[in-house]
């Protein structure tokens, strides 16, 4: 069964505002990181909370997606995981934060990261503004901590906080483009929605396993991280379930 087309309501202004706020949050995080205002432990905790929020959103996305079409959902998820893995193979694990990445590698990783998030935001907004807002708020929190790491890498290369903020925001520009493109595609072709939601799930899952969790474990330790991620994921799953309310 496919999701009914009537459920897909275009919300381009909502989408632009939400994804724009996520980009601005990345700029703020990079400026903070470049200004040496965040300790590694704080970044670790922020990353863990962002990972939990992403896990909760991923749960909400896949629940909605599976209700439409399990095969399309799984296909989208697998495709996203494979594509992101291929993209990471290009940047290498050196792009990961705790391995002291070069600024260029960190910016490249951030751009890849934002593409998956843009897809997830676009698909979530297609389901409904409330669901989109929950997802976007999650990504805003996440972007601050992730971009702080990027900011620290840029600082090491002598960039100022304002230059770091601009670089982080530019690296995140793809998030807005992907979000708008995803919304346009699913409005034009509603059958693509389970694929998009599944891809959002797979992409977020991959990113939290490949980037957020390893960095957080290194910065803080396993029990604290597991606790924070579980709680944050549970809260978002609870809120996300309410936000997508009318889903089949």
């Amino acid at each position: 069964m496919l999701l009914p087309a009537a459920m897909i309501t275009p919300r381009p202004l909502d989408l632009l505002l939400l994804s724009g706020a996520a980009v601005a949050a990345a700029g703020l995080g990079a400026a903070l990181g470049a200004g040496r205002r965040l300790t590694p432990a704080l970044v670790g905790w922020a990353g863990a909370s962002a990972a939990g929020l992403m896990l909760g959103v991923a749960y909400a996305l896949v629940s909605a997606s599976l209700a439409g079409s399990p095969f399309a959902s799984a296909g989208g998820a697998a495709l996203a995981v494979l594509l992101l893995h291929a993209a990471h193979a290009g940047t290498g694990d050196a792009a990961r934060a705790t391995t002291a990445p070069s600024a260029r590698a960190a910016v490249r990783a951030s751009a890849i990261h934002s593409a998956a998030e843009g897809l997830a935001v676009g698909a979530a907004v297609a389901l409904g503004p409330a669901f989109g807002i929950v997802l976007a708020l999650t990504l805003i929190v996440h972007n601050v901590s992730e971009a702080a790491v990027l900011g620290a890498a840029l600082r090491d290369e002598g960039r100022s906080p304002s230059a770091a903020a601009v670089a982080a925001a530019l690296a995140r520009a793809g998030q807005v483009v992907l979000a708008v493109a995803t919304l346009a595609v699913v409005v034009a072709q509603p059958a693509a929605l389970p694929w998009a939601l599944g891809a959002g799930f797979g992409g977020l899952l991959y990113l939290l396993f490949a980037e957020l969790l390893p960095d957080s474990y290194q910065a803080v330790g396993r029990t604290g991280i597991a606790l924070v991620v579980s709680l944050a994921a549970g809260i978002v799953a609870l809120l996300g379930g309410g936000a997508r309310g009318g889903m089949p």
């Binding site: 799984a74 396993f209 549970g234």
Partner: protein, 245 residues
């Protein structure tokens, strides 16, 4: 509808998960040690399966009551934390057990046995969500048990234990699963309003185990991108499996 007459089936499914632990001894018929990377991949597969299974449990609970499922998940996390607290800081010594005496080997078995209580509860309450969900949870926990069996066997083999002894002790460590599954199943059958709490409990405990045990151990010996690939794909496969069986 699942009724009390299904108790043998519940016991049988949970017994299968315990027997799967014994499969962890098999690799030692061919090699003396498994590479850390192979163990990391096995942990990543188990993490993906358990995560996918947990999503199924949460969805099932959410259909009845999202709030109760959330509370149950918190209780599940709390249960694992309490278990670990009662065990003290002994679990981190696991890696140093190679060549240790029998008392320390026994400690490993105790640790493994205690934490398998929550997994038994997961199998039992999953029957409240239907046969398909129960089958999926059983597969996830059975697969998760294999690396645990490998870990136990690695310790015992280093002490000169036979393959049969390795398999036997591994299975013994998971016997709480059939023993806990039946009471958990009967409990949620008698008090059906508690089903979402039970489903949430099992999901919370499994997600916490994934985050606290499986993933950190996987990251320690394999690249994060490969862990993400394996875990992401197996979680997706598990979700599809649950929806199509």
């Amino acid at each position: 509808v699942i009724v009390d007459g299904d108790v043998p089936r519940v016991f049988g499914y949970a017994l299968l998960t315990a027997l799967a632990t014994g499969l962890g001894a098999l690799p030692f018929a061919f090699v003396r040690d498994l590479s850390p990377r192979a163990m990391a991949t096995a942990n990543a597969i188990a993490a993906g399966l358990m995560l996918g299974a947990s999503i199924g449990l949460l969805e099932e609970g959410e259909r009845v009551s999202a709030g109760a499922t959330f509370v149950g998940a918190l209780l599940g996390v709390g249960f694992v934390l309490l278990t670990q607290h009662l065990l003290g800081g002994r679990e981190p010594e696991f890696g140093a057990l190679r060549g240790a005496d029998a008392r320390r080997v026994l400690l490993v078995l105790v640790v493994m046995t205690v934490h398998s209580f929550a997994e038994g509860v997961a199998v039992g309450v999953s029957f409240g969500g239907g046969g398909a969900l129960a089958a999926a949870i059983t597969v996830a926990i059975a697969v998760h048990n294999i690396p645990e069996g490998v870990a136990i066997s690695a310790v015992l083999r280093a002490q000169g234990a036979s393959l049969v002894a390795c398999a036997g002790w591994s299975i013994l460590s998971s016997l709480p699963q059939p023993l806990m599954a039946v009471p958990a199943f009967l409990f949620v059958q008698r008090f059906s309003a508690l089903l979402p709490y039970g489903l949430g409990f099992a999901a919370g405990a499994m997600v916490f185990l994934v985050l606290e045990e499986l993933l950190p151990e996987a990251y320690a010996h394999e690249r994060a991108t490969r862990i993400a690939l394996v875990t992401g794909l197996t979680a997706t496969a598990m979700l599809l499996f649950q929806r199509t069986i």
